[in-house]
């Protein structure tokens, strides 16, 4: 195992993040603040408590997830796509590194970045609403698992994308709707029974529900099932990456 190479990729990617720190942080923090003002303060004051939690506090976990998911995907996909676009990816192929080290470096860095962004948003939320976190350990574990699995997913998108449009398509067309319809702003139990069933096919529902359980101890879905679903998603991503590696698909001729 070439750990030095993993470190090299990781710190290079983190350097890019810190070089553009204001950009990297301002946009997610700003948009989240706007959500808090609009949904939390303005509209939320007219909405009843959900499961004993004020509406402003209720949407905190969902909003963090919204940013963390999109950031994980865009960071990881961009991280591997950009060298492909520039041609500088030749270095990865000609160095004594395996695909595993490449994945560890890029996915590790992308997951770290989005976890940092998630924590910064959590801090921002403190300014707008009062809330307590019941299970800190579970909250951090959920955050880490989500960052890692969606960074893996982003890495796959980056490897497969042929141009910038494809790179942005998945986050835009798939992730945003799934997150909005995944219970960020409402409890699943508020939906009519038919839509409750449909919602169960949305993987993000399990993430948000589990994450919210870590905050407030209440959840739409059993926490064990939530954990299992995210583990399954991570395994699927790992399997796709393993297969991509084996066939060299879209990476080598």
């Amino acid at each position: 195992m070439n750990f030095q190479a993993v470190r090299s990729i990781y710190s290079f990617e983190m350097a890019r993040f810190f070089r553009t720190l204001s950009q990297s942080l301002i946009s997610p923090v700003l948009s989240t603040s706007l959500y808090f003002i609009v949904f939390g303060a303005a509209i939320g004051s007219r909405i009843d408590e959900i499961d004993g939690v004020s509406y402003g506090a209720f949407i905190v976990p969902g909003l963090i997830m919204l940013s963390v998911l999109t950031q994980s995907i865009s960071n990881a996909s961009f991280g591997i796509y950009f060298p492909k676009f520039l041609g500088s990816i030749y270095e990865l192929h000609t160095a004594p590194v395996s695909f595993i080290e490449i994945v560890l470096g890029y996915v590790g860095a992308a997951a770290t970045k989005s976890a940092l962004i998630g924590l910064v948003i959590l801090g921002t939320a403190e300014f707008f609403v009062d809330f307590e976190i019941l299970h800190w350990g579970a909250m951090l574990a959920f955050l880490a698992l989500t960052c890692i699995s969606f960074s893996l997913f982003g890495f796959i998108i980056g490897v497969w994308s042929k141009n910038f449009e494809q790179l942005q398509m998945v986050p835009l067309l798939v992730i945003t709707p799934l997150v909005f319809l995944g219970g960020s702003f409402y409890s699943i139990s508020m939906l009519p029974p038919f839509w409750q069933t449909v919602t169960l096919f949305n993987p993000v529902v399990y993430l948000i529900s589990g994450f919210r359980w870590a905050f407030y101890g209440t959840a739409d879905i059993n926490i064990g099932i939530s954990l299992m679903m995210i583990a399954v998603f991570m395994l699927i991503c790992l399997a796709i990456i393993g297969w991509t590696f084996k066939t060299g698909y879209k990476i080598k001729t």
């Binding site: 470190r7 090299s8 350097a15 060298p83 000609t94 004594p96 590194v97 001729t253």
Partner: protein
């Protein structure tokens, strides 16, 4: 001397079905400079891309320092540095960061003294903190060379190091290559300029349409390639070559009324002066003269005919 690079029966068929390399065999000794000479599309980049790990071979093997480039890729790649044909650098990275990144990829700890000496050798030390996008084309290429050297490879591949580079820079690049050879690095470079192969190589491999036609000591090959032709257009037509000129290697082209004289450009005596003297003695009046070096294409044709 032992071969540091050994290529056996190497072939490559791209996904579209195109056969880019056909059963290539090649051994390279440690410490030599080998030029792979061939026109665009010959398969030069494909060959070195396979050795460096960028392209998977369809069949055959390549070994560097005894390590198979596919099976023992870690050991093999540790010995190799590649300077690619196209300039590809992270635009916002500084020169020094770029070197540190590459050295890390090769599993080596940062070594400031070594990186400094490499940058100095390539006249880049004063640019160490410049972003790569701020550099000129020639400097960018030197950064690529510095990156390729920063893990102390024993074999360096340079893919068309002087394509699209002006004369000044080309000379500079050749000096760099010679210096590297003195440091004991084995160098394989590709080019489509005969003069380049002539200027710096110890041996030359000629490649066309995916076939390595031959690999020869430069001197031997240059003699073969050194054929020049002198065309002498005449005022009056001739019936044939006059007896007095019989001992020259002459052809007569009746259509253009020209005598064509072939000679060795590298020979001690070209015989041109005495030819002119004999022409005037024979009373033949000249209208125009022209000399022509055999082109790469002529040489290929010659080589293919020789092989047949």
């Amino acid at each position: 001397m032992a071969a540091i690079l050994s290529v056996q029966n190497l072939s490559k068929q791209y996904d579209g079905g195109f056969q880019a390399l056909k059963n290539v065999n090649l051994d390279i000794d440690e410490g030599e400079i080998l030029a792979l000479l061939g026109p665009n599309g010959a398969g030069k980049t494909t060959l070195i891309s396979i050795i460096c790990g960028l392209v998977n071979p369809s069949s055959g093997t390549a070994k560097v320092g005894g390590f198979d480039v596919v099976g023992d890729y870690r050991q093999a790649r540790s010995l190799i540095g590649l300077v690619p044909q196209e300039i590809a650098l992270e635009p916002f990275q500084t020169v020094m960061d770029a070197l540190r990144f590459t050295r890390g990829l090769f599993g080596k700890r940062n070594d400031p003294a070594l990186l400094k000496s490499i940058l100095e050798k390539l006249s880049l030390w004063d640019k160490k903190d410049a972003k790569t996008m701020e550099l000129s084309g020639g400097m960018k290429r030197r950064v690529l060379i510095a990156k390729a050297l920063c893990h102390e490879p024993r074999v360096l591949f340079l893919d068309e190091p002087t394509a699209g580079v002006d004369v000044e820079l080309r000379k500079e690049m050749w000096d760099v290559v010679r210096q590297l050879k003195q440091d004991g690095v084995t160098i394989i470079l590709t080019t489509h300029y005969i003069e380049e192969a002539e200027a710096i190589a110890d041996r030359v491999g000629v490649i066309r349409s995916g076939e390595l036609l031959l690999v020869e000591e430069k001197e031997t090959l240059m003699q073969r390639m050194g054929q020049r032709q002198l065309r002498v257009e005449l005022m009056q037509p001739l019936d044939g070559i006059p007896e007095a000129l019989g001992h020259y290697d002459l052809d007569y082209d009746a259509e253009t009324q020209a005598l064509v004289y072939s000679y060795e450009a590298n020979g001690e005596r070209t015989g041109i002066a005495s030819l002119f003297a004999d022409l005037s003695k024979a009373g033949i009046i000249l209208r125009d003269i022209e000399t022509k070096q055999s082109s790469l294409e002529d040489i290929f044709v010659g080589l293919v005919e020789d092989k047949a």
